[in-house]
Amino acid sequence: MARRVKLILQAAAVLVVALLVALLGWRVTEQAEGRGLDDALERGERPRPPELVFETLDGEGEIRLADFRGKAVVLNFWASWCEPCKDEAPLLEETWQRYRDEGLVVLGIDAQDFRTDAKRFVERYGLTYPMAYDGQGASLGRFGNTGFPETWFLGRDGRLVGEHIVGPFDREQLEENVRAALDTPVR
């Protein structure tokens, strides 16, 4: 009887340790996914972005990155409390208006923010491009983002292209990456 109890306890201990190791592995893999995107871009590769589904900022629908296949996408992570985001917003709106007929979509992802603050921000700067809301900021780690603003570019084939811009961009840098995204073939 005592031997049986001992065996059960040993099995339970091994199970707990295995679960902890699996949890650690999952966490490390998730963090590595974001870092991997940057590394791949630097090597000149064109990785696929994480398959993410966002809630729209107005809370009335969903936005999937996969829905934009065939379009070039500027993926801008922002928050209403982020100062450089205030400078970027008008430039993003201008770019969206200029290139939308050529197949460009600007997608703003408001993260780690109050939804009401984000809505006020959108209204104040007259932003008309699609807006997603990720209050928890779950998407930030998937991309390997470390702050705000950060901007990625997706080609028409749904793969990342150009630079991952950490921090604010200037007009020239935005233009160059938008062009690279628009010039990718649809596959």
């Binding site: 982020c82 100062e83 780690q112 109050f114 603050d117 209050g135 928890q136 900021g137």
Partner: protein, 158 residues
């Protein structure tokens, strides 16, 4: 064994006290700052000067002034930032395990340790001399030759 049971009961009682009995009426900013985490810097609001932490403090101040209870403020913050905004997991549902398991683990560890110690002390074999002779202090008597040598050595120091 009674001591073990008493310790386990004490740990469980402490856990139960930690799990309930708090009032959420008339919260203050100082109290709430310790309970929520700044999503960008992952420290409690009281330790953070990040812009989002400032904004969250302002939000909490507004809600307190509007007469919201702690539960209402917490619900609003969780709705915006998810459960990750809580410095401690909620004491309900699956998250209750995070509170109960360490206490159960502690109680189990104490019980196992006590059980093992009791068994070990009882089962420890006492060395017995071959002829079964035992001295007055309960230890086996020395070999007569060895005892003679020891007496000789001691005599040299007297």
């Amino acid at each position: 064994m009674r001591i073990v049971l008493a310790l386990a009961a004490l740990l469980l009682a402490l856990g139960a006290a930690a799990c309930g009995g708090e009032s959420d009426e008339r919260p203050t900013l100082a109290e709430l700052e310790k309970k929520y985490i700044c999503p960008t810097c992952r420290t409690t609001l009281e330790l953070s000067n990040a812009p989002i932490a400032e904004r969250m403090r302002a939000f909490i101040r507004e809600r307190i002034a509007a007469g919201d209870s702690e539960a209402e403020i917490e619900a609003a913050l969780v709705s915006s930032f998810g459960e990750g905004v809580l410095a401690a997991p909620p004491k309900e549902g699956f998250n209750l395990l995070a509170w109960v398991l360490p206490l159960l683990g502690g109680a189990l560890a104490v019980a196992v340790l006590a059980f093992a110690l009791v068994r070990w002390s009882r089962a420890r074999p006492q060395p017995q001399p071959a002829d079964g002779a035992v001295s007055v202090n309960g230890r086996p008597e020395l070999d007569s030759e060895l005892e003679r040598k020891l007496d000789d050595e001691l005599a040299r120091f007297e």
